[in-house]
């Protein structure tokens, strides 16, 4: 098996009972595995809610013990959700602007050039984390230098080596965001903090707490996911030089290639919801106040929807993947993520002849019944100039 392969641990359960069970810190989760069931649950926000009393509970693993700030708009249900989403959406569509893309191209060029000059490097820390952090300064519209601090935090702000959730580490981020909000109040500018502080949502001025909720989501939601997508892309093209060549020869398949890689990688494995009433998913009872999760990674390998689901088909034309979620809460950062992928792949085709995986350690998520490889803890790669 190639190093870049991400297998599908859910197949048997998906085809058999349609669900999986996971004990998450004594708050069990029923994992919904099929493509249609996942979309159905995502669509049904009345029965499967994102808001609710306990903040952080829909995240798997649950963050109830390490967070008391509501992430916005992600942990709010309609109709309030709509006002928040409408406020932030135009801002998160800025990656479609030319100027944004040209700055992002400089950032990507920087990390790729560094890799080529060094010859070989550890991709997670030295490539993906840098790229993700620097790109985030564009999304927030703040000076590039700020990324140096985030890079110094390492890949895991919310995790340490031995635990999936680390309250002390999470506090570093929360305290940092608090300080940035205070700075923006004292000195308003053109950055996301200032823009939100000066905005209204649902007819009310945004509070500090709400602004913090948007920023925590922006930091947390786009970190591991982007790092995994970038690292997995490097690993994939290292293992499949003919695919890199194909993108070079047929740049017109760039879009389908990106969507396909997102489907195959599914950088976010699952997202939870809390049932508001006694209900069921694929004939399994779900009790009111218990949790389900929509397993995007499993849905994206559903053979009833995708032909050859375990293969990367770069020109897959009809590709109804749910790698960015589905329904009301679909990924707010998707435009930014897609643009990172597009510029990264373009730059690789322009500059990199081939890559070689020298050594790696897989990052395996422990989901009780399932063990899922989501990417790498570290991966040493040699880059050869075109």
């Amino acid at each position: 098996m190639k190093k870049s392969t991400l297998s599908d641990p859910f197949k048997e359960a998906r085809e058999g009972k349609g669900i999986g069970e996971m004990n998450d810190q004594d708050d069990p989760v029923k994992m919904v595995l099929g493509h249609k069931d996942v979309r159905k649950c995502a669509h049904n926000w009345k029965t499967f809610q994102s808001g609710g009393e306990e903040i952080g509970r829909i995240v798997v693993p649950s963050e109830v013990h390490i967070r008391d700030v509501r992430q916005i708009p992600f942990e709010v249900d309609p109709p309030e959700h709509k006002g928040y989403r409408a406020l932030v959406e135009p801002w998160f569509k800025r990656p479609l602007e030319e100027e944004y893309q040209s700055k992002l191209t400089d950032i990507v060029n920087g990390v790729v050039e560094e890799a080529l000059t060094k010859g070989s490097l550890e991709v997670v820390e030295e490539f993906s984390l840098k790229l993700q952090s620097r790109a985030l300064t564009l999304l927030l519209n703040i000076p590039y230098e700020e990324s140096e601090l985030w890079i110094s935090w390492g890949t895991h702000v919310f995790r340490s080596e031995d635990t999936a959730l680390d309250g002390d580490k999470a506090n570093i981020l929360y305290d940092y965001i608090d300080a940035q909000i205070d700075k923006a109040i004292a000195n308003p500018g053109e950055d996301l903090y200032s823009v939100l502080l000066a905005s209204e949502a649902n007819g009310k001025k945004m509070t500090k707490e709400e602004v913090k909720g948007v920023l925590i989501l922006t930091f947390a939601g786009g970190r591991d996911t982007v790092i995994n997508a970038v690292t997995n892309s490097i690993a994939y093209f290292a293992d499949h030089p003919q695919s890199l060549q194909r993108l070079r020869d047929e740049p017109e398949i760039m879009n389908t290639a990106i969507e396909e890689l997102i489907r195959y990688f599914s950088p976010l494995t699952q997202m939870g919801r809390v049932a508001t009433e006694d209900t069921q998913v694929c004939e399994h009872a779900v009790k009111a106040q218990s949790r389900i999760s929509m397993c995007w990674a499993s849905a994206n390998r559903d053979e009833r929807v995708f032909e050859k689901p375990d293969e990367v088909v770069l020109d897959r034309k009809v590709n109804p993947h749910v790698g960015f979620g589905f329904g009301t809460h679909n990924c707010l950062g998707a435009t930014h993520a897609r643009q990172i992928m597009k510029i990264l792949l373009t730059t690789l085709t322009e500059k990199v002849g081939s890559m070689e995986i020298l050594d790696c350690k897989e990052n395996i998520e422990d989901l009780d019944e399932f063990k899922r490889k989501v990417g790498f803890d570290n991966i040493q790669v040699k880059f050869n100039r075109l």
Binding site: K36, R39, K40, A42, H43, N255, T256, I258, E259, V305, R316, K317, V318, N319, P320, H321, V322, G323, F324, F326, G327, N330, A334, T335, R338
Partner: protein, 102 residues
Amino acid sequence: MAKITFITSNNKTIETEATSGSVMEVAVKNKVKGIDGDCGGVCSCATCHVHVKEEFWNAVGEPSELEADMLEFDDNVSEYSRLACQLKVDEVPDGLILKVAK
């Protein structure tokens, strides 16, 4: 060459002409409000949802199974719903009128 008219939800009419590509691409190029085309046309985002004007429905035709699945959970779905990215300009009837769903 096909003439395609989009009517947005705030009742603006946008007339376009195109020779190739998908109807979603035409809409995005002409900045038709309510058609974002986030996924670039692979049938994954449903941000290109349109209602085909009744008189064109037979000429345009039914969605494929996967497309119908995507539409099933979309808001404002009607019996004339299609995803614009799954309509090819050189296959749609000339003079086609589409109402933007969002």
